[in-house]
C-alpha cells in the first residue's frame, strides 16, 4: 500500500517535470548504478538466472554476465534446485517474470522507490 502510494507520487512527479532530461537521467542513472551487481531474473517457465547485470536496452532485454541457471528438479514448488553455469546470456523482456537485485537491507528501500 505504502509502495503503491510512493510509486504514484513519483510517477506524477515525473509527468509534471519541466524537461524530460532531469528525471529521466535520474532513473536511468539509478539503473546505471545497478550495473555489475548481482541480479536474479525469473523466467516464465520457472527457471531463475543469477548473474552480474551487464546491459539493458529500451525494450527491457537484459544481459547478465557469468550467469548461473537455477531450476527445480520437479514440477512442484518444494524441490531441490539444480544449477549450471552459462556465461553471458540475454534474457528477452517477454520471457522475464521477475527481477531482483541483491542489496543491503538499508539500501533496498531506495531501490524500491521510484
Amino acid at each position: 500500500m505504502v509502495m503503491e502510494l510512493e510509486a504514484e507520487k513519483s510517477l506524477i512527479q515525473a509527468e509534471s517535470s519541466d524537461g524530460p532530461n532531469s528525471n529521466s537521467s535520474d532513473l536511468v542513472a539509478r539503473v546505471r548504478k545497478l550495473l555489475f551487481r548481482r541480479m536474479l531474473v525469473g523466467i516464465r517457465d520457472g527457471r531463475f538466472f543469477l548473474g552480474t547485470f551487464h546491459c539493458m536496452d529500451k525494450q527491457g532485454n537484459i544481459i547478465l554476465q557469468d550467469a548461473v541457471e537455477y531450476r527445480s528438479t520437479r514440477r512442484s514448488s518444494t524441490s531441490p534446485m539444480e544449477q549450471r553455469c552459462l556465461g553471458l546470456i540475454l534474457i528477452p523482456s517477454s520471457c522475464r517474470s521477475s527481477c531482483h537485485v541483491g542489496c543491503a537491507i538499508e539500501e533496498q528501500l531506495s531501490l524500491l522507490k521510484l
Binding site: V28, H54, K58, Y70, R75, I89, C95, C99, C103, L112
Partner: protein, 724 residues
C-alpha cells in the same frame, strides 16, 4: 513505515538461491520499467567493459537453438523416472519385456553409431535413461549387463580417441560432461554378460529339445512366455550379446602395446561381423512378432522390430551437452548403424592384418593406402596409436632407428651417439608428428602437411649448419669420424626426400578435396611435376648411396657385364615416380596447349588473375622454397609455347605407358602398386589417344573441345574430347 515496507519486499519463491551475506533480494522491476521509458531508441545502459560485438555472442534464453535448459516434458531425469519413462522391469509380460529389451539394444547400437559419426554422447548413447541411472537396472540381469558393457565400450572408445588427440577436427565427441561413464564394477561387465549369455543359451537348448527331454530341463525357466517365439527371441538376444562381448574384446586387444593383440583382435572382428549378420537377419522375425508397426518409414527406424524403444529422452540430457548449443540430431537408422559397424570392423581388420613393416617407406605406403577407403575417426585413431606409442614406432623402434633405416644407413648407425644431437631429436619429433597427421582426415591432414613443410625445411638447414660446423669441408677425416659424416650426409639427403614426399601429398590431396578448379589443373600438374622430379632425384641418389655402401662392404669381385647391367638398373621406386612425372608433364603440356589454342572448356575467372591463384595455391610451398627457384614465371615460361603439334611429336603419355609397363615387373608381389600402375597406364593411353584425335581433327572442327575427368585415376585426369 520502514517495517511495512520491509514486509512488502518480494523474495523469490525459492529461498534456496542465496543473495549473499547480510543481503536481501530487492525487486527492481518497476524501476527498470520506468527507466526503459526514459531511454532513447537504441540507447543502452551498460558499463565501460561493454563490447557490442562480444554481447552478440550471449546465449538467448528461451531460444530453442541456444537455450538448452528450456523446460519441456520433464524437469529432470528423476522426474521422468518417477513418471514411468524407464520402467524396470519394462513389462510384467515377459514376452513384451524381451521385445522391448531388444528394441533398447538396437536403438543403443544406432545411437552409438551416431555418436561415432560426430555427435555428443549426451544426445546419443546417454539419451538412454537406463544408462543414466546405472543402479536401477540391477534387478534385470539382461538389461543391466548390456548397459554395463555399453558403458565400458564407450569408455574404451573415448580412451582411444582422446589418446590419439586428433579428434578436434571431427566434432569434439569425447566430452562426457558428468555423464556416468564410470559405472561401479563395469570392468566385470564381461563376466555378467557371460552369465546372461549362458542362461539364454540353455533356454535356447531347452526350447529346441524334443518334448521328452524338455521335462528334464523343466527347471530351466524359459526366456519368455510364448513358446512359439522362444527360439527366435533367444537367438536374437544371443547374437546381440555376443556382438557386444566380442566388440569389447576387439577394443581391448587392439590397445595392447606393440601390436601384440592384433592377431587375437582379428578373430574377434571375424566373430563380430558374423554376429552382426545374425543381428541383421533377425529383423524379419522381430518385425513379424512385434505389435502395431506400420510399413511406413521402416527404413528410418532405429530398431529391428520397427518399434519405438522405451526409455530414451534426449532432452533430459541436453543441459549436459553444454556449452555447445543443442542442435537437434537425427539418430542413424538401425540398418545404417549396422553398415557403419561392418565398415568399422573391416577397417580395424585391415589395421590388424598390417605386418608392422619396420621401414618408414612401408609405413607411409600402408597409411596412404588405408586412407583411400575413407576410414572413420575410431579406426584412424586406432591406427595412429598402433604406429606411434611412447614416442617410438609400434612402441619398439626409436625414431632415430627408423630414420637411419629410411636413410639406408647400416644397422649399427642406430646406436650412434649423434642421435643425442638436438636437431636429430627434433627431426625424430617431426617424424612422429608426420605419422600422426597422416592418420587424420583429408582436410585436416592437408592443412597440417602444408604447415609442416616449413619445419622440415628449417630442420634441414639446421642439420646442414651443424654438419658444416662439426666437420668443415669433407676432406682427410679420420676413420671413426667418417661414419658420423656418412650418417649426416645420408640423413640430410633423406630429409630432402621426405620433404618432397610431404609436398607431393599436399598437392595430391587437393584433388581429393576438390580444391582445384579445372582452369587451375595446368599449374597444379606443373607443380606436381617439379616436385616429383626433385623427389625422384633424391630417391635415386639415396639408392645409389645404398649401392655404394653395399659395394664397399662386399668382397672385391670382377665386374661381369651382368653385374654392371644390374648396377645401372633404375630402382623400381624411381621408375614408379618417373611414370608419374611423365603423366604430370604430359597433362601440364596438354592443358597448356589446349588453352593456348583455345580448345579447352573453361570459364574465365573474373575475380583474380592466374598469378594470384598460383600464389594462393602454392604459398606454403613457395615460402618453404620447395623446390627452390620455382615461381609463377617459371610456370609461364614452361607453358606459353606449348602447342598440340609439338606434343604429338614428343608424347609424354607414351613414355609414361612404357615406364609403367617396365615398373610392373618389379612390383609383382605388391598388388596395391600394380593396381596403381595399371591406372596410370590407362590414363596415359586415353590421354594419348585424345591428344592424337584433337590435334588431327581439332584444327578442322572448331566445335571440338576437351574436358578433363577423373575416370581412371583419383588425381590424374583423363581428357574427354567432345563436340560442344
Amino acid at each position: 513505515m520502514a517495517d511495512d515496507a520491509a514486509a512488502e519486499v518480494f523474495v523469490p519463491e525459492r529461498t534456496s538461491i542465496p543473495s549473499g551475506d547480510d543481503s536481501v533480494w530487492a525487486d527492481v522491476s518497476p524501476l527498470l520499467e520506468s527507466a526503459c521509458k526514459d531511454l532513447r531508441d537504441g540507447e543502452l545502459i551498460h558499463g565501460d567493459n561493454f563490447n557490442l560485438f562480444a554481447a552478440m555472442s550471449a546465449l538467448e534464453i528461451m531460444d530453442p537453438k541456444m537455450d538448452s535448459g528450456i523446460v519441456c516434458k520433464y524437469y529432470s531425469i528423476d522426474e521422468a523416472i518417477e513418471n514411468g519413462a524407464a520402467p524396470v522391469p519394462i513389462s510384467i509380460n515377459k514376452t513384451v519385456d524381451v521385445q522391448c529389451t531388444i528394441d533398447i539394444m538396437d536403438h543403443l547400437l544406432a545411437c552409438e553409431a551416431t555418436w561415432h559419426k560426430g555427435h555428443s554422447l549426451a544426445q546419443t548413447v546417454f539419451s538412454c535413461i537406463y544408462l543414466l541411472r546405472p543402479d536401477r537396472t540391477s534387478s534385470h540381469a539382461l538389461l543391466h549387463s548390456y548397459c554395463r558393457v555399453i558403458r565400458a565400450t564407450c569408455k574404451a572408445v573415448i580412451s582411444v580417441v582422446s589418446d590419439a588427440r586428433t579428434h578436434e577436427e571431427d566434432d569434439l565427441f569425447t566430452m562426457a560432461y558428468g555423464l556416468p561413464l564410470d559405472g561401479d564394477g563395469d570392468e566385470k561387465c564381461l563376466s555378467l554378460l557371460n552369465a546372461v549369455e549362458e542362461t539364454i543359451s540353455r533356454q535356447l537348448r531347452a526350447c529346441k529339445a524334443p518334448s521328452s527331454r524338455r521335462r528334464v530341463l523343466e527347471d530351466m525357466e524359459p526366456l519368455q512366455t510364448n513358446l512359439d517365439l522362444e527360439e527366435g527371441y533367444c537367438k536374437a538376444l544371443l547374437c546381440r550379446l555376443r556382438f557386444r562381448k566380442h566388440f569389447y574384446h576387439v577394443l581391448t586387444s587392439m590397445r595392447r602395446p606393440q601390436g601384440r593383440g592384433l592377431e587375437l583382435a582379428r578373430k574377434h572382428i571375424a566373430t563380430c561381423i558374423s554376429e552382426l549378420d545374425c543381428i541383421y537377419r533377425s529383423s524379419d522375425f522381430l518385425r513379424s512378432s512385434a505389435c502395431g508397426t506400420s510399413e511406413d518409414g521402416i527404413e528410418n527406424r532405429t530398431t529391428a522390430s520397427g518399434c519405438q524403444p522405451i526409455g530414451f529422452d534426449a532432452s533430459l540430457n541436453c543441459r549436459l551437452s553444454a556449452p555447445t548449443p543443442p542442435r537437434a540430431i537425427k539418430i542413424l537408422s538401425w540398418k545404417k548403424a549396422i553398415e557403419y559397424f561392418v565398415k568399422l570392423l573391416h577397417d580395424l581388420d585391415i589395421i590388424c592384418s598390417y605386418s608392422l613393416d619396420p621401414s618408414l617407406e612401408g609405413v607411409l605406403q600402408f597409411v596412404v593406402q588405408f586412407q583411400k577407403s575413407q576410414p572413420d575417426l575410431v579406426a584412424r585413431a586406432h591406427l595412429q596409436l598402433l604406429l606411434v606409442q611412447d614416442g617410438k614406432l609400434y612402441g619398439r623402434d626409436s625414431m632415430f632407428t627408423v630414420i637411419t633405416r629410411a636413410a639406408v644407413l647400416p644397422e649399427v648407425a642406430k646406436n650412434h651417439d649423434v642421435q643425442k644431437n638436438e636437431y636429430f631429436v627434433q627431426l625424430g619429433q617431426l617424424v612422429i608428428n608426420m605419422l600422426k597427421i597422416l592418420c587424420t582426415n583429408a582436410a585436416w591432414q592437408r592443412r597440417k602437411l602444408g604447415k609442416m613443410l616449413q619445419d622440415w625445411r628449417v630442420i634441414y638447414v639446421q642439420l646442414e649448419i651443424a654438419f658444416r660446423k662439426e666437420f668443415g669441408e669433407v676432406s682427410s677425416i679420420p676413420e671413426d669420424e667418417n661414419f658420423c659424416v656418412k650418417i649426416f650426409q645420408h640423413i640430410l639427403l633423406w630429409v630432402e626426400e621426405q620433404t618432397y614426399w610431404i609436398a607431393s601429398r599436399f598437392l595430391i590431396l587437393g584433388f581429393e578435396l576438390e580444391l582445384y578448379s579445372p582452369s587451375e589443373y595446368c599449374m597444379v600438374y606443373w607443380y606436381i611435376y617439379v616436385v616429383l622430379i626433385k623427389l625422384s632425384e633424391k630417391t635415386h641418389l639415396k639408392m645409389a648411396a645404398k649401392n655404394d655402401t653395399g659395394k664397399r662392404k662386399g668382397k672385391k669381385k670382377r665386374d661381369s657385364p651382368k653385374d654392371v647391367a644390374r648396377e645401372y638398373r633404375i630402382p623400381p621406386a624411381v621408375l614408379f615416380l618417373q611414370c608419374q612425372i611423365c603423366l604430370a608433364e604430359g597433362l601440364t603440356m596438354m592443358l597448356a596447349a589446349l588453352r593456348n589454342e583455345h580448345m579447352i572448356l573453361q570459364s574465365r575467372n573474373p575475380f583474380n588473375t592466374e598469378q594470384e591463384r598460383f600464389i594462393q595455391h602454392f604459398e606454403l610451398l613457395q615460402k618453404a622454397c620447395i623446390p627452390d627457384h620455382v615461381s609463377f614465371h617459371s610456370f609461364r615460361e614452361s607453358t606459353t609455347y606449348a602447342r598440340l603439334s609439338t606434343l604429338v611429336m614428343y608424347n609424354y603419355f607414351k613414355d609414361a605407358q612404357r615406364i609403367a609397363k617396365e615398373a610392373k615387373s618389379s612390383f609383382s608381389n605388391d598388388p596395391d602398386k600394380l593396381a596403381e600402375l595399371r591406372k596410370i597406364e590407362q590414363v596415359a593411353e586415353h590421354n594419348s589417344i585424345a591428344l592424337n584425335v584433337i590435334s588431327r581433327v581439332g584444327a578442322l572442327d572448331p566445335t571440338l573441345k576437351a574436358s578433363f575427368e577423373f575416370s581412371h585415376h583419383p588425381y590424374f585426369a583423363t581428357a574427354v574430347v567432345k563436340r560442344s
